[in-house]
């Protein structure tokens, strides 16, 4: 246990947590103004700007880091890593925040104004307060993501936990030290999860909505505010999307090797299929847990929920290793099979699907289910006809999110894929391993393009406020 007494261990823990909090704060600082602009200011093309603010989800963090490094080779260290991680992960807070701002009860804000608050203090006291659980949930995802990120910190040479675990494991095959370090990492994740639970607190679930929803019309904003808003949104899209993709295109134009279209096509198909199957399994696993935790809050359901979040805290390497071990020793038939890889994605990204399904279920009033029962439906079919049917969009959004993240996943894919099975992420890795950066670029671009499809659908799913439903289907991508 001497690992624990090493000063460096604690220093690394400090760096990991510091990086996580820096990225969370920076993401919130981007998400709130963006969400406010898109809900309160008359800007041109609001839907397109919304989609642009979601699309960074399609860029793998290591690809973004690599693209920035290619143009700005001097970038390195803590702040560079924080910048890139923020640019790829801010949608995790932006999405829940904008959903919350759109559905929050504006009459409260009007009451606060009538009680003498300024627009800003009224907002802070009401709509902002109502959005904190959503923001906290998104922050948790970002925090856990940063804790388990490997690519960015490796490229910028920041000594965080994942990097130290990896190098300890790599250098000495010292499994015990690696395991102890991984244990501390999980502990850090548990700290984050409990902080989030505190922030979420006891939020009112079924907001009683009576009659016509009191919606605050968009502010009649001055030209100055409008231009500043457009400048902000454009700047955000430029740094988060344009710079990395433009950089990749520049690199590709410099590349010399001819591209093997057949290999690229196979990789695209493999990526789409395996991540889709993973998403289906994840939704299947998440539904019963979400159904349980959305209706019953007690110690047992909270424990099941926390357990299912552990996937987020464990680096892909750890899950990968444990599934290799499990399949070899228990189910040798599925070792290195397509199914095992899809299953690994489902386990890794279960929390995303779980969060989305749970909040969709929570926004459906349970009385509908009771009415269906009283009209002769058995429990399961009553659920399907009401809560299940009304949460479809939310559940699908969760599946899309799993698909999206699975496409970008690297370490577990490397370990678990069937022999000869290449995805875009592994092809990318193979080429960077050989320092064939130019040849890697088309795969990076293809990966972004393919991942942009679920990201785009996700933004559409959230944008859909079905006109026939009074209560907009509440979708949250977060925990």
């Amino acid at each position: 246990m001497e690992v624990l007494s090493r000063g460096r261990t604690w220093e690394t823990a400090g760096t990991s947590l510091g990086l996580a909090f820096t990225v969370i704060i920076a993401s919130l600082a981007i998400s709130y103004p963006t969400a406010l602009i898109l809900t309160r200011v008359h800007v041109p093309f609001p839907r397109s700007f919304f989609t642009l603010a979601v699309l960074p989800l399609a860029i793998p963090s290591y690809v973004a880091a690599y693209a920035w490094l290619a143009q700005f080779p001097a970038m390195s260290g803590f702040w560079a890593a924080a910048l890139i991680l923020t640019l790829v992960s801010f949608p995790y807070t932006f999405l829940p925040i904008i959903v919350s701002l759109r559905t929050s009860d504006h009459s409260l804000e009007q009451v606060a104004r009538s009680l003498g608050r300024t627009p800003i203090t009224a907002f802070l006291a009401t709509s902002f307060r109502q959005s904190t659980p959503a923001a906290a949930a998104g922050s948790l995802l970002i925090g856990l993501y940063v804790l388990s990120d490997f690519g960015v910190v490796a490229l910028f040479r920041v000594d965080t936990f994942t990097r130290v675990i990896y190098s300890t494991y790599r250098a000495s095959f010292d499994k015990t030290s690696a395991a102890v370090l991984a244990g501390i990492l999980v502990l850090l994740a548990i700290i984050l999860i409990s902080l989030e639970r505190k922030a979420r607190g006891r939020t009112l679930r079924y907001r009683p909505d009576r009659g016509v929803a009191n919606s605050l019309s968009r502010l009649t904003s001055t030209r100055g505010i409008r231009s500043a808003s457009v400048a902000w949104l454009t700047g955000l899209a430029t740094t988060s999307l344009l710079i990395p993709t433009a950089s990749l295109f520049i690199l590709m134009s410099e590349g010399t090797r001819a591209l093997d279209w057949g290999e690229l096509t196979t990789a695209v198909i493999n990526t789409v299929v395996v991540s889709f199957v993973g998403a289906v399994i994840a939704v299947g696993l998440a539904l019963p847990i979400a159904a349980l935790t959305s209706r019953f809050r007690n110690r047992k359901s909270a424990a099941i929920e926390s357990l299912s979040y552990s996937g987020l805290a464990l680096p892909g390497v750890v899950i990968g290793l444990s599934l290799v071990f499990l399949s070899i020793n228990v189910f040798p038939a599925i070792y290195q099979s397509f199914f095992l890889l899809a299953f690994a994605y489902a386990v890794l990204f279960l929390p995303k699907s779980l969060g989305a399904s749970r909040s969709a279920f929570e926004s459906t009033p349970p009385v509908l289910e009771q009415v269906a029962r009283s009209l002769g439906k058995k429990p399961m079919s009553a659920w399907m006809f009401t809560t299940g049917r009304l949460s479809l969009t939310g559940v699908a959004a969760g599946g899309l999110l799993v698909m999206l993240t699975s496409m970008k996943e690297l370490p577990a894919t490397l370990m678990l894929r069937p022999t000869g099975f290449e995805t875009l992420a592994t092809e990318l890795w193979n080429r960077t391993e050989l320092a064939a950066y130019g040849a890697a670029v088309p795969y990076a671009l293809a990966l972004i393009a393919v991942a942009a499809i679920p990201a785009f659908l996700l933004s559409k799913a959230i944008l859909v406020t079905k006109s026939e439903e009074k209560r907009p289907t509440e979708i949250s991508i977060s925990a």
Partner: protein, 349 residues
Amino acid sequence: MKAIEVSGVSAGYGGEPVIKEIDLAVDSQQLLAILGRSGSGKSTLVKTITGFIRPLCGKIFLDGVQVAGPEVFVPPELRNIGLVPQEGGLFPHLSVAQNVEFGIRKDAGKDLRVQELLELVDLRELARARPQELSGGQQQRVSLARALARRPSVILLDEPFNALDATLRDHVRADIAEILSHTSTTAILVTHDQDEALSTAHSIALMDLGRILAFGSPQSLYQSPNSIPAAKLLGPINEIPGTVASEHIADTEFGEMTFDTHELTEVGTRGTVLTRPESIDFGNQGTSALVESIRFHGHQAMVTVITQSGLRLKVRDEQSVTSHIGDTVQLVFNDVNTFIPASQASGRL
């Protein structure tokens, strides 16, 4: 045979039972109102009768068939109880007609039945509308049609008029009461509104702290309540200290007052004479009192007076306004009073 019979039922959500030893019986084709403040256990009782909560003890019978008891538990979908929840609980993704047909088996007569039900609630032209396009009152009528679709033995209306504004409320209430009697449906109406209970129900059960305080016809409960809390649940009441002088007479500061009684009370028993504001009139001679405040209601006024002993009394002035604040008036007490012995004042049966 009773349409609904609840005997000795206690139920809750784990831990302390929320409702305790409930006894209730509703005759076929009657409307029972369960009246109580929020938190009195009304909703828990409804959930227990519909089958969403399994009672800890006691039995429930519907049309003589046991649906809950120590060895029996019929799930809600097999009880055939129609449910009209607060704010209607319409399925937002279905049209009006689809909502109504939700509980009906698919067969040849189905469309006709839906037509019939929509006609019954006077909403035929809105069959294709979505719930969000309807007014609150229309939503409640659809909810009722949906509940009636399976010809349930009982309909439970759980505070169905809460979300409606006052003028609409009276109207929808009368509509629904008429539809229920027209279709000869037995119903339970859960409410915290005394006027609603008094004006719509054939009988009323008063609930407080998870127990039934009193059960009876609206008139008898209103005019001769069995406890002070029960009396207060049904409207303003005056409490005048007194002592029993003979079988139907109590001595009070206003002289002898006649009262009805549930059971014979011994001469000399101390207690309270309860009298409603409308049982006191202004006259030319009687007890004099000072007018303290007047609440004007249009067709009548509620006048608060202070007697010489300092007792505050509420008097309903049917003539609207005949007095002014500060006037001295003479009070005449009518004979419609109840006597509650001090030992029973808390209302525990």
